[in-house]
């Protein structure tokens, strides 16, 4: 009896020590994660309002040095950027609306067990997640539909995502009791009314989540624009960002030489902070959206995806 007691005591002391070690290690890991994820973003914001000289000299490590807003002024004045933002806002608003409507239209029938083709259609949809025809056949299809170089190319090909549909369907199935449908039916409610009046109001968290997914997807869409659009007037922000942020870099050296001879090195310097400012301006909308919709994640994604 006595030995057991001491043993238990020992165990507890040992576990306390092990737990303390664990907590220390865990806190260090988490602090490290906080630093490596936040630092690049903080330094980008700081650099965007620092002078180019300070950045080149390596003086900006955390807080901005020689605060200037020239970069942001240059961004706002840039016509290309304004075109890109306008187009992206349009593609994002219309495209996401289409996405959400299509997702709900598919998810509701496929969540109903008494819908006879449910199993077959679900399988048919799911198969497209694992197998695709590839880039070229899709391109030829979009071309044959006459969508190349039109706004439709940014809206129709990504109109529906099977993964989103699976999330919403799982949510409908696991969060809305079947008895609700039965009683609604007894009261003479048809499917359409039931979906609009009962299912959707009860599914706000998951709707917020898929709206967020669609918005982020459309705002960041690059591939289809790169493939389907040629006209400069139609380009969304990511394509324009690539031109300014990535492609202009190869011209930097040429610029440098040209500027040096003309003595307008300031333009080249402005180029650096313009890039930092542009990064901040173009990622800000999605970052803010994330911060403000955060509270839905725990409800929406977590509940909707528990079943995997």
């Amino acid at each position: 009896m006595n030995t057991v007691k001491t043993k238990k005591c020992n165990n507890r002391i040992k576990s306390c020590f092990a737990d303390r070690v664990f907590d220390i290690i865990n806190t260090i890991i988490l602090a490290f994660i906080l630093i490596i994820t936040a630092y690049p973003l903080i330094i980008t914001i700081s650099s965007s309002i620092s002078s180019a000289n300070a950045i080149s000299a390596g003086k900006v490590y955390f807080l901005p040095v020689d605060i200037t807003f020239d970069g942001y002024i240059a961004v706002v004045k840039n016509k290309q950027v304004i075109t890109g933002v306008t187009n992206s806002v349009f593609y994002t608003a219309v495209g996401s609306a289409i996405n959400v409507v299509m997702t709900v239209l598919a998810a509701y029938p496929l969540s109903r067990k008494d819908f006879r083709p449910q199993k077959f259609v679900s399988l048919m949809f799911a198969f497209t997640m694992w197998f695709s025809g590839g880039m070229i056949p899709s391109y030829i299809l979009v071309r044959d539909l006459g969508m190349i170089n039109t706004r439709w190319a940014m809206l129709i090909p990504p109109a529906f995502g099977v993964w989103n549909m699976v999330l919403v369907r799982t949510y409908f199935q696991s969060n809305i009791p079947e008895s609700l449908f039965e009683s609604a039916r007894l009261d003479g409610c048809d499917d359409w009314k039931y979906l609009m009046k009962i299912v959707l109001p009860l599914s706000k968290p998951i709707l917020a989540v898929i709206t967020l997914y669609s918005v982020v997807g459309h705002w960041n869409a690059f591939f289809s624009a790169n493939l389907y659009l040629q006209s400069a007037k139609l380009q969304p922000l990511p394509v324009i960002l690539r031109e300014i942020l990535l492609l202009s870099q190869t011209n930097d050296i040429a610029n440098e030489v040209a500027m040096a001879t003309e003595g307008t090195a300031s333009l080249q310097e402005l180029n650096v902070i313009l890039k930092y400012s542009l990064v901040v301006v173009s990622s800000l909308p999605m970052a803010l959206l994330y911060v403000f919709t955060q509270k839905y994640f725990t409800k929406g994604i977590m509940v909707g995806s528990v079943k995997g």
Binding site: T37, F115, F131, L141, V216, N220, L246, V279, S282
Partner: protein, 319 residues
């Protein structure tokens, strides 16, 4: 309760007698709702699968997909004897394996760290910071790499210089491409991928943990004997799904990071397919489609195999 059961039985028995016609009459609204998504899937997902036969033809724009000459496996033979194909294949597999080795375990570790974080505010701030990079677009991610590692103005280069005393030209050295590519991907995606595990962990019954604590189990043992076993199904499913990406390295990022300096390391199957399918006045559609089809088939087979293995070993599978 009793009424419900009665009604359910009624429905079950009536279902057996129901004909297709009656079912359609009862559920016509469901059919109508499903019509648009169904048409979308058929046109934009299944029709391109039929169109993938272009890989077995010699595509001539004037004749279209169906009118072009059938050449069997000719395009695939060309593919295997193409000088860049093997290099692209090697780069693809290297990059995706490197990514998978990190992107499977790291989110699990992250989720466990979050779960055992001390202090709610601390946990929330770290989580928020770890999730945020997911919302940056690929263009921004690649721009950040280029800006922060810029040999003249990049802050990381300045930090390296201060610590090691010498400048390292990270962007100008092709050797660094793989590490930059993979670790930037982890930086962007690992936090977000941990969400699934976080939700799985929050579903673990607290009573099991309480019982374990009374029995004297420390946190290490609780993680090993309670948390990890209970998120095993999620781990299995995430692993199966990621196996499908073994031959498909994200096109956007590789394409944007690619430059003449790192070409030998950054040319992957997706960029080869793209350049074959878009370059020149008469792009080689059939050749590019052959690459795309090969990638699709291999990815699909990989998912099937992993699914089968997982099903036999642990009884966890996608369906």
């Amino acid at each position: 309760m009793k009424f419900n059961r009665q009604k359910r039985e009624e429905i079950i028995t009536s279902k057996k007698k129901e004909t297709w016609g009656q079912e359609i009459k009862r559920n016509w609204q469901l059919y109508l709702m499903l019509a648009l998504p169904f048409i979308y899937i058929v046109v934009f997902k299944y029709y391109p699968m039929v169109g993938a036969q272009i890989a077995f033809r010699k595509y001539v724009p004037a004749f279209g997909i169906w009118g072009s000459k059938w050449v069997g496996l000719y395009q695939f033979e060309r593919m295997f004897s193409h000088p860049i194909f093997w290099k692209a294949l090697k780069n693809t597999i290297t990059l995706s394996t490197y990514t998978l080795l990190l992107s499977i375990p790291i989110p699990i570790v992250l989720a466990i760290c979050f779960e055992y974080a001390r202090g709610k505010f601390f946990r929330k701030s770290v989580q928020m910071s770890a999730f945020l990079p997911h919302f940056l677009s690929t263009v921004i991610l690649v721009s950040l790499i280029n800006l922060l590692f810029d040999n003249r103005t990049g802050v990381f280069i300045h930090i390296i210089q201060n610590i090691f005393g010498a400048k390292v030209n990270v962007l100008g050295d092709a050797k660094f491409f793989r590490h930059l590519y993979v670790w930037s991907g982890i930086w962007q995606g690992a936090g977000w991928s941990s969400i699934l595990y976080i939700s799985a962990l929050s579903g673990v019954d607290t009573q099991i943990h309480e019982a374990a604590i009374i029995d004297g189990a420390n946190k290490w043992r609780r993680i090993w004997h309670i948390d990890l076993p209970s998120i095993r199904p999620t781990i299995a499913i995430m692993t199966i799904m990621s196996m499908g990406s073994i031959l498909s390295v994200g096109f956007d990022k590789t394409y944007m990071m690619q430059n003449p300096i790192n070409y030998d390391y950054s040319e992957v199957l997706a960029t080869l397919e793209f350049s074959m399918g878009t370059a020149g006045s008469v792009p080689d559609y059939s050749f590019a489609a052959a690459i795309g089809l090969a990638v699709s088939v291999v990815s699909f087979v990989m998912v099937m195999i992993t699914n089968k293995i997982s099903k036999t070993l642990s009884d966890n599978s996608l369906w």
